[in-house]
């Protein structure tokens, strides 16, 4: 599963980090860092993260 975050849209609210903490995190400056690939076992969490993103900035491409 590939993960793309539109960083022009992302406002670093961090909502995604609560749903899928192994994939999304805020760095020390509060800026989003994320993995661009995730195991399909994490699909539920990553989908939930995309749901709760206030900017709807997260796109998931399933393999």
């Amino acid at each position: 599963m590939k993960i793309i975050v539109d960083l022009d849209k992302c406002q670093n609210y961090g909502q995604c980090t609560f749903e899928a903490p192994t994939v999304f995190a805020l760095d020390n400056d509060g800026v989003l860092v994320y993995q661009t690939e995730a195991d399909s076992a994490l699909a539920d969490d990553v989908n939930a993260a995309a749901d709760v993103c206030p900017m709807q900035a997260i796109t998931i491409i399933h393999d």
């Binding site: 406002q11 670093n12 609210y13 961090g14 909502q15 980090t17 609560f18 805020l26 020390n28 509060g30 989908n47 995309a50 749901d51 709760v52 206030p54 900017m55 709807q56 796109t59």
Partner: protein, 394 residues
């Protein structure tokens, strides 16, 4: 088994996805012409730069949801298990009410001002806000304050008048409200607080103290009214939204009696008034963006359980969260600050800060201004964690 969802906003969408995920057929009925779209940008980026409903559309997880858009639901017959359109009826085995709220209108004479709820409202307001025009905003809640900030960035002169003593005073308290007012004042916004509006004029308003304010554009942002009219006459408690229990099942004020009345009826999103044991047993409506997703998922699970003859646990304890962007300030909140007494935990009321809200030693909410990362550490501490093991009261 068919589940009908009325209201095609975020809550209707998330509820429909959840219901379908449990293997049930679902149809969503909505009066707006658009598939569900994101409202928060309407007072922020989408007000500055034009955006269509398609630009703001939510990602929809499933392509097997039924949609009937562009037609309002005008009535409900719980006994017959039907919702009524102007020229048709739609039968259901279970119903989810997701019709949200509409802007409240002050009972004041004169030409009605603009409001902001839909993408069409935002487009009309955007067109009116050309540089140099004078915008008068009635109401100093979140939407009023966000529009004030956006309109300043668009080059408009902005005046805010409100009955409250400070902006956003009800959710945030006096000190943080005053701090945010000073941010707005530094950006050139003029405030008239503690005063009502007694008349709309073509070129401004008359205030309750007799003064007049002139403006080219007037926006009313004075709270909301739940869209429950279509549910009337079915024994539901519609005093403020749709009263539900912790399962989100609507509470019937008259004994159901008839067989037909036993179909599951749930409410989700801005319209649902439900008890959240994270805080207490008092049912409340929460107009935050996080609730549609939490309540939508919950509704799907509850309906699946009920239709399978099971009784869902009374363990729904969602943590409300809110954000707001004004100038360079990003406000974020977790919990229900309005329930508690504020104390400054770090920073200053006028600048970036974290404010804790306590009720009887329990942390009920936290608000941060430009403190996203630290705020996250508060999340697990919010609410009456200790009552998790106690049975929820009836």
């Amino acid at each position: 088994m068919t589940v009908v969802v009325v209201g095609a906003g975020l809550a209707g969408l998330r509820a429909a996805e959840a219901v379908r995920g449990h293997g049930l057929a679902v149809t969503v009925l909505g009066d707006e012409r658009h598939l569900p779209y994101n409202r928060p940008p309407l007072s922020k980026a989408a007000l500055r730069e034009s955006a269509t409903a398609a630009d703001l559309a939510f990602r929809i997880r499933r392509d097997d949801l039924g949609w009937r858009l562009g037609q309002p639901v005008v009535g409900l017959d719980l006994y017959r298990r039907e919702v009524l359109l102007a020229d048709d009826t739609v039968p259901f085995d279970a119903l989810i009410i997701a019709t949200g709220i509409r802007p409240r209108v002050l009972p004041v004479p004169g030409p009605p001002p603009m409001v902001l709820r839909t993408v069409e409202d935002a487009e009309a307001l955007r067109r009116a806000l050309t540089p140099g025009r004078r915008l008068l905003i009635i109401g100093a809640g979140f939407i009023g304050c966000e529009v004030a900030a956006t309109a300043r960035a668009m080059g408009c002169a902005v005046t805010v008048c409100a009955a409250d003593a400070e902006p956003m005073i009800r959710p945030l308290g006096e000190h943080l409200g005053a701090g945010l007012r000073r941010r707005h004042e530094q950006a050139g916004v003029e405030f008239h607080l503690g005063v009502g509006v007694s008349g709309y004029e073509p070129s401004g308003v008359t205030l309750s103290d007799g003064r007049t304010l002139t403006a080219d554009v007037i926006l009313s942002a004075v709270g909301s009214v739940p869209n429950t009219q279509w549910c009337a006459g079915n024994g539901l408690d519609l005093v403020d939204g749709v009263l539900t229990d912790n399962r989100l099942c609507a509470v019937r004020t008259t004994a159901a009696g008839e067989e037909g009345a036993e179909a599951p009826v749930l409410a989700v999103g801005d319209i649902a008034r439900f008890p959240n044991p994270l805080f207490d047993e008092v049912p409340r409506r929460i107009e935050h963006w996080s609730m549609p997703t939490d309540t939508g998922r919950r509704a799907g699970a509850v309906i699946a359980a009920l239709l399978a003859g099971q009784s869902p646990a009374l363990d729904f304890r969602p943590l409300p969260s809110f954000w707001s962007d004004q100038y360079d300030a990003t406000l974020q909140s977790f919990g229900m600050p309005a329930l508690g007494v504020p104390t400054l935990a770090s920073g200053s009321w006028d600048g970036d800060c974290i404010v804790e809200y306590h009720r009887d030693d329990v942390l009920v909410g936290v608000v941060g201004v430009n403190r996203t990362r630290e705020l996250a550490t508060y999340r697990p501490r919010i609410g009456s964690v200790s009552d998790a093991s106690q049975p929820a009261a009836d």
